[in-house]
Amino acid sequence: MSEAIKTFFSPSVLGPEIFYGSSVALFLIGLYMVLVKKNLVKIAIGLTFIESGVNLFLISIGYVWGKTAPILNKTLMMGTPSKEVVDPVPQALVLTAIVIGVAVTAMALSIVIVIHDKYGTLNISKIKELKW
């Protein structure tokens, strides 16, 4: 059974598309939350969903099936490293992007706290004193 599941999810069946698909799904879920939910916290969470989606997309670009992590060790040094490891650049990018995402989320939540203090509500439709 577990073997079947493994086969099912192996690249020969689904390929990297599953990662692309799930990143799109994450993106759309996030977009849905951002556009439909009225609660500021949920919107902030939606933003993180979107970010996760993009991060997943970015990392799956660099991922090559069946290759190892881009960490130089002795075995890798023997052959041609560039053909045996996955692209290290996206991973570095994603690390950075995640950090940035965390910063944005923290920023968002701290602003949400202030908004809740001052307005007494988290409903985004009611927070529009600044307009026109």
């Binding site: 009225k38 985004i124 927070i127 307009k131 026109w132």
Partner: protein, 618 residues
């Protein structure tokens, strides 16, 4: 090169000094302004006809040049500027900013006439426009708000039309100098050339208060600071006239050759301008007849007189252009005179509401005399420059066969009598009001300026040939048809002759005969009092209002109300409402305040753009 820089420096330095030092001493700002104008005139006199280059933008040479037309216009400008700076001696209440902006304004105007390329022309043009706005602003605001904003808006719109016109010419010829544009204008396609010239003429037409772009002018003229109004209406409007001349006869000389554009022996532009000019002259003078305020009346009169100039330009033969240019000078002179007189009246009485004035002839006789002189010129009585130019314009209209526009122009001229008489009567004649018993004559700076303005008015009226001679030289230097049949005192057109000197001498003799006849008659008795009048036995006292001045031409107004109801103003107000409506919708939609809505907009834009990608073929 250096002389031009000195000239520019004279005015801009004067402006800077007046601005910085003016707040310390009112005398200083007046003195600096006066000195700068005189110095500028002296410098200009030494410049002769020459060309100057300045390196300004991307190392490009910006060209300023002086030819006969430039000299004509610049002397006109500097002359009226001198009058204003003279009159300003009596106006310490104006802020230093006003004086500084005035000098910059004169500079801008002069540079327009001197510029020989697109860049410097547009630069000077905008400089002239915004400094005038600044002057309206610097002299109090509250009641002038709509007038000033309207002026600024229209002059910006006009300037931008000019900019579009110029940029089309530039795009088509890749030249910024006028001479180069003229040389390569042959490469421009007809469509683009027509578009460019249409934009240019419309843009300049705004400044020249051409209907339907005139709505700003009456308000702006009447609300501008009183000593400056003469310059505003007399000179600044001439920049528009000059622009039309440049666009029409210099840059677009080739338009004449396009056969499909020819109507009635001239280009369709000319034909349209004749009609627009005639309608402007006629409509504006009918409106002027019904004004209750002196400045408004003169302001509408200005619009009307500029209509004459546009009419004459449209005719575009030797007579038309001579008429247009001479009327430009005539209008500058008599309108400056009349506005300056009105400024004096306002200075002494504090109002230009005609019903509140009256009988000032006893208190301000000099002002009255020159108001009559100005009025003679405005109404175009022979012996004044006003007749010289108007007569040429009429002959041009009839000679060119523009019978209906010419009729309108004639009617406009008759209407000029109506409003001019109302102006003089309501202010200077009739009974004197109680509160104006102690009004004094205007100070010397004023009446000196009156005299200075009256001299050329009569000179060119008696020697029409001199004026025509100057203008013929200008037109010949532009290779345009010029009127050549003139002597010093007379001008002959294909239709007839006018000899200013003979008319003048004749009238002088007739006046002497009249006086002789007058003195033959019995002695006269001085009236006992203001109310000592024939009133059929009625006893009236001083409190009784005998001044017939409100709604002077009410019967006329009643009959013409259908015509006066047609108002460009209302149309523009409608447009304004529409824009405001659109503006509010736009504001409330795109800046609705809901953060989520902004995200929606973002998503929508993204979706639309992404979807539109599929239309791209690989």
């Amino acid at each position: 090169m250096m002389k031009l820089l000195y000239f520019i420096g004279c005015f801009s330095g004067g402006a800077l000094l007046a601005f910085l030092l003016g707040s310390f001493s009112p005398l200083l700002k007046k003195f600096i302004t006066f000195l700068a104008v005189i110095l500028g005139a002296v410098l200009f006199a030494t410049m002769g006809t020459s060309t100057y280059q300045l390196s300004l933008l991307f190392g490009n040479q910006v060209i300023f040049g002086i030819d006969t037309l430039t000299q004509f216009m610049v002397w006109m400008t500097l002359g009226i500027a001198f009058i204003v700076s003279l009159v300003l001696w009596s106006h310490s209440e104006l802020s230093p900013t006003f004086f500084a902006l005035f000098l910059l304004n004169v500079l801008g105007t002069v540079l327009i006439f001197m510029s020989r390329d697109i860049v410097s022309f547009f630069f000077s043009w905008e400089l002239m426009s915004w400094t005038a706005f600044g002057m309206i602003l610097s002299d109090g605001w509250e009641k002038k708000r709509s007038a000033a904003v309207k002026y600024f808006m229209w002059s910006a719109a006009g300037a931008y039309m000019v900019l579009i016109g110029f940029s089309i010419l530039f795009a088509a010829t890749s030249a910024i100098r006028f001479e180069n544009i003229v040389m390569s204008v042959g490469r421009v396609s007809h469509g683009w050339l027509i578009t460019a010239i249409a934009f240019l003429v419309a843009g300049f037409g705004v400044k020249a208060a051409m209907m339907p772009f005139h709505v700003w002018a009456p308000d702006a003229y009447s609300e501008s600071p009183h000593p400056f109004t003469g310059f505003f209406s007399g000179i600044l409007s001439k920049t528009g006239v000059y622009g039309i001349f440049i666009a029409f006869f210099y840059l677009a000389a080739r338009l004449e050759a396009v056969p499909m554009l020819r109507v009635h022996g001239t280009s369709i532009f000319g034909y349209i301008m004749v009609w627009i000019g005639a309608i402007t002259a006629f409509g504006a003078s009918l409106i002027a007849v019904h004004q209750e305020y002196g400045k408004k009346l003169l302001a509408w009169s200005s619009v009307s007189q500029l209509g004459y100039i546009i009419f004459a330009f449209g005719i575009a033969d030797s007579l038309g252009m001579t008429g247009a240019l001479s009327h430009a000078l005539a209008h500058a002179l008599f309108k400056a005179l009349l506005f300056t007189i009105l400024a004096g009246v306002i200075m002494r009485t504090g109002t230009d509401h005609m019903a509140s004035l009256g009988g000032l002839i006893k208190r301000m006789p000099l002002s009255f005399i020159f108001a009559v002189v100005g009025g003679l010129a405005l109404a175009g009585i022979p012996m004044t420059i006003g007749f010289t130019s108007k007569w040429i314009i009429y002959e041009a209209g009839i000679n060119g066969g523009y019978i209906f526009p010419t009729t309108l122009i004639f009617a406009a001229s008759t209407a000029a009598f109506l409003y001019y008489y109302r102006f003089v009567y309501s202010i200077f004649l009739g009974p004197l009001h109680e509160e104006h018993q102690n009004v004094k004559e205007v100070p010397a700076t004023y009446w000196i300026s009156y005299i200075l303005l009256a001299i050329p008015i009569f000179y060119f009226g008696l020697y029409p040939g001199k004026l025509v001679g100057i203008i013929s030289t200008i037109l010949q230097s532009y290779n345009l048809p010029a009127l050549t049949t003139y002597t010093a005192t007379s001008v002959t057109t294909p239709l007839g002759t006018f000899n200013g000197m003979v008319v003048g001498l004749g009238f002088g003799a007739a006046l002497i005969v009249g006086l002789i006849v007058y003195f033959i008659g019995g002695r006269v008795r001085k009236a006992a009092s203001q109310t000592d009048k024939y009133l059929a036995g009625e006893v009236v006292t001083n409190e009784f209002e005998l001044h017939y001045s409100v709604d002077f031409y009410r019967f006329l107004e009643r009959k013409l109300s259908w015509l006066l109801k047609i108002s460009a103003q209302k149309f523009y107000e409608f447009i304004g409402e529409l824009i405001r409506f659109v503006a509010d919708i736009n504001r409330k939609m795109f800046f609705c305040g809901n953060g989520q809505a902004y995200l929606y907009y973002m998503t929508i834009v993204l979706t639309i753009l992404i979807l539109s990608i599929w239309r791209i073929k690989p």
